[in-house]
């Protein structure tokens, strides 16, 4: 590009034209910097309030494996992380086979016309707001799947929330890993057929290993999405305001995200910033946000580096 730029500078003699170009160039640089400003704003606002939070509580209380209840000043983060872990695990157990299966069918078996119809429908599922899936989780998944089929105790549990989140991230896995499988050059498939391999062998032993970095990326991105998902768990998790440490998915519980939602929804003064009792609960929001931000950032960076590898290879 730089040689083109140089030639242009020689051609445009008009000073007004040059100045206009420079002005426009500066505007675009400003726009480019805006995203960096957003990142810095996120990090600064999260850490600043987190430091206030940590300064005002006993840091040892963060890992008591006991109770999360901001109202009585109990901030056991381990409870919330266990909740997030359970929900994410359940979600991935549902979403990985369903998403990968759908991706394999769309990429390898479906005829072009069928694919053209089915893929947009799957994208519709991806476009359904998470609060709607939360409602679906409690009115349908809770009674029909968790209580009837899995004989859980209650409609509201981490299990219900996890299944809802699983449905939410399935289209993400399907779409990213389908792209990865379609990016595998057909010469690989043809070579496999030429060796006398049947279709299933080709898919399982040739296409999927070739697309593995894309598939891993899909799983990472989906896991990050599942950990960051809020409303499904806020509705279906069954706990509001406080939760006890549990490792049983059929119990009610809070995750990092739903704890934030319930703090925000529980005290009306939070956003107004007034209430005297709201002080530490308010700051705990930012501490949880910082933890969440760090975890999802790591997962996303790993996922994105895998996505880049797919792009570079073919």
């Amino acid at each position: 590009m730089s040689s083109v730029d140089g030639a242009l500078l020689g051609l445009e003699g008009d000073g007004r034209r040059v100045r206009r170009e420079q002005r426009i160039r500066r505007t675009f640089w400003g726009a480019g910097l805006s995203t960096l400003v957003i990142s810095i704003a996120i990090i600064v606002s999260l850490t600043a309030n987190s430091i206030t939070f940590l300064a005002n509580i006993d840091v040892g209380e963060l890992l008591t494996f006991d109770t999360w209840s901001p109202r009585i000043g109990k901030f056991d983060v381990a409870t919330l992380f266990m909740g997030s872990l359970i929900v994410t695990a359940v979600a991935m157990v549902i979403a990985i086979p369903l998403g990968l299966g759908a991706a394999v069918y769309l990429a390898e078996y479906a005829r072009p016309r069928v694919r053209r119809v089915l893929k947009p429908i799957l994208e519709v599922l991806a476009g359904i707001p998470s609060i709607v899936l939360g409602f679906f989780a409690i009115t349908w998944i809770g009674p029909n799947v968790v209580v009837d089929a899995l004989s859980g105790q209650s409609d509201f549990s981490l299990m219900t929330a996890g299944l809802g989140v699983g449905i939410l991230v399935t289209p993400l896995i399907a779409s990213v890993s389908e792209d990865a499988m379609r990016a595998v050059p057909s010469s690989l498939r043809e070579a496999s057929y030429g060796m006398g391999a049947r279709r299933m062998t080709t898919v399982v032993r040739v296409v999927m290993p070739a697309a593995v970095s894309g598939i891993v990326a899909a799983l990472m991105l989906a896991a990050a999405r599942a950990i960051g998902e809020t409303m499904v768990i806020a509705l279906a998790g069954g706990a509001a305001g406080e939760a006890h440490f549990t490792s049983n998915p059929y119990d009610a519980g809070l995750t990092v995200t739903s704890a934030m939602a319930s703090v925000a929804a529980g005290t009306d003064q939070i956003a107004g910033g007034g209430g005297q009792g709201a002080g530490q609960a308010f700051n705990s929001l930012f501490f949880l946000g910082l933890l969440l931000f760090t975890v999802t950032l790591l997962l996303n960076m790993i996922g994105n580096s895998f996505v880049r590898r797919v792009r570079e290879r073919y």
């Binding site: 730029d5 990142s39 309030n49 369903l98 998403g99 078996y109 707001p129 409602f135 679906f136 939602a261």
Partner: protein, 386 residues
């Protein structure tokens, strides 16, 4: 033609002999299992829609807007439109009337003249559909009533207003900023470490959970800039959602711009155009459909977001807007459709927790799914193969 006719049976026979003249049972089972996964995914959509529809349709049957009453409702809507146009009242009336009276004939006239004005015709038609829909909303007490503690009176008017304003503000902020950033990254920025860092940063921002953006909005727009935004107002909410969708707008716009072939740009430079001329007249018009698709998709995401609004202070209960006009409502208390869904779901009264929640979800789904459908259609319509 003849070669094709011969080729097909021959391929089949080769396939069969490769399988050793037996059918491939495990392969077939594998294929069916994969198909089953896909069908389960699709079944979820169907079950979800049926559940929501089943729970929520009663509200519409009781409160107007039923399908059986369609002709009379339509008649009434046309009637009201006519009175509205011939007898404008208030500021909005005087603003809308000339727009409709002048815009519709001009749009139709232009559309009749050339193919390229079809888009204009589409927009005009879209506006009139929205207009008729607005007249309809007046006929359903669920859609036109404010939130209330009485289940028989509660409606989603404030939520629809909030959601529409939030979506418009998101678009107004995120679209120009996002497209400018994409143009910067794809056209202006040199390929160096800084640019790659900005790109990596944008990809990571796209993966940040929406609650975290809510925290950002709470810290920056609600607290820090409260003198500008007025604290917990639509402005703070709209800016938060705009920042939330900005990375998605940038990524999709970048992809659309990257898809414009290099030869087009070189042609532009060849006739002596400056970089901005090339960007403005060649790159952006050719990437426009892709950019628009991405923007619509990100807007439908913004419409459905609840968690950030919860943090930046959409109202948690019932409130009155009284007869505040549109401008006053910008700086007042607000709510949005997903927020209403969340609030009603938390009520102990099952009228609220099931029926009204489902009805509000139907309204929300109609808006988001229409937006998604529009995006998919746009993409299929304008998809170019260079």
């Amino acid at each position: 033609m003849a070669t094709v006719d011969v080729a097909v049976p021959r391929n089949i026979s080769i396939d069969r002999s490769l399988r050793g003249k037996r059918s491939d049972i495990p392969g077939l089972a594998f294929q069916l299992a994969m198909l089953a996964c896909l069908l389960v995914c699709l079944a979820f959509i169907v079950v979800l829609l049926v559940t929501v529809f089943d729970d929520g349709i009663g509200v519409f049957q009781e409160r107007g807007f039923v399908l059986s009453a369609f002709p009379t409702e339509l008649e009434r809507a046309i009637d009201e439109t006519w009175t509205f146009l011939t007898n404008p009242q208030g500021v909005e009336g005087w603003l809308l009337c000339p727009l409709v009276l002048v815009g519709v004939p001009i749009g139709l006239g232009l559309a009749a003249r050339a193919r390229r004005w079809r888009l204009v015709l589409g927009v005009v038609l879209g506006i009139s559909v929205i207009y008729v829909a607005a007249a309809f909303i007046g006929t359903s007490s669920f859609l036109s009533a404010n939130v209330s503690s009485l289940s028989s009176r509660a409606g989603v008017a404030q939520g629809i207003f909030g959601t529409v304003v939030l979506a418009v503000m998101t678009a107004v902020v995120a679209f120009p900023l996002g497209v400018a950033t994409a143009v910067f990254l794809e056209e202006y920025a040199p390929d160096n470490r800084f640019t790659r860092f900005v790109q990596l940063n944008i990809r990571n921002l796209a993966g940040v959970p929406s609650v975290v953006y809510g925290l950002l909005g709470l810290a920056v727009f609600v607290k820090l800039a409260s003198s500008v935004t007025g604290g917990r107002t639509l402005i703070a909410g709209g800016l938060t959602l705009a920042i939330l969708v900005l990375p998605i707008v940038i990524i999709t716009a970048s992809e659309a711009i990257r898809a414009v072939p290099q030869s087009l740009r070189e042609g532009g430079y060849g006739v002596g155009a400056t970089q901005w001329d090339v960007t403005k007249t060649l790159v952006l018009p050719n990437a426009f459909a892709g950019i628009l698709t991405g923007t619509i998709l990100s807007l439908s995401r913004a419409i459905g977001e609840t968690a950030p609004l919860l943090l930046v202070g959409a109202v948690q209960g019932f409130f009155t807007t009284g007869d505040a006009n549109v401008l006053q409502r910008f700086s007042g208390r607000y709510t949005a459709l997903p927020q209403i869904v969340f609030n009603w779901r938390g009520e102990a009264n099952t009228d609220f927790a099931i029926s009204l929640t489902a009805a509000a979800i139907i309204v929300l789904l109609v808006i988001t799914l229409l937006a998604n459908l529009m995006a998919v259609l746009l993409r299929n319509r304008f998809e170019k193969r260079w």
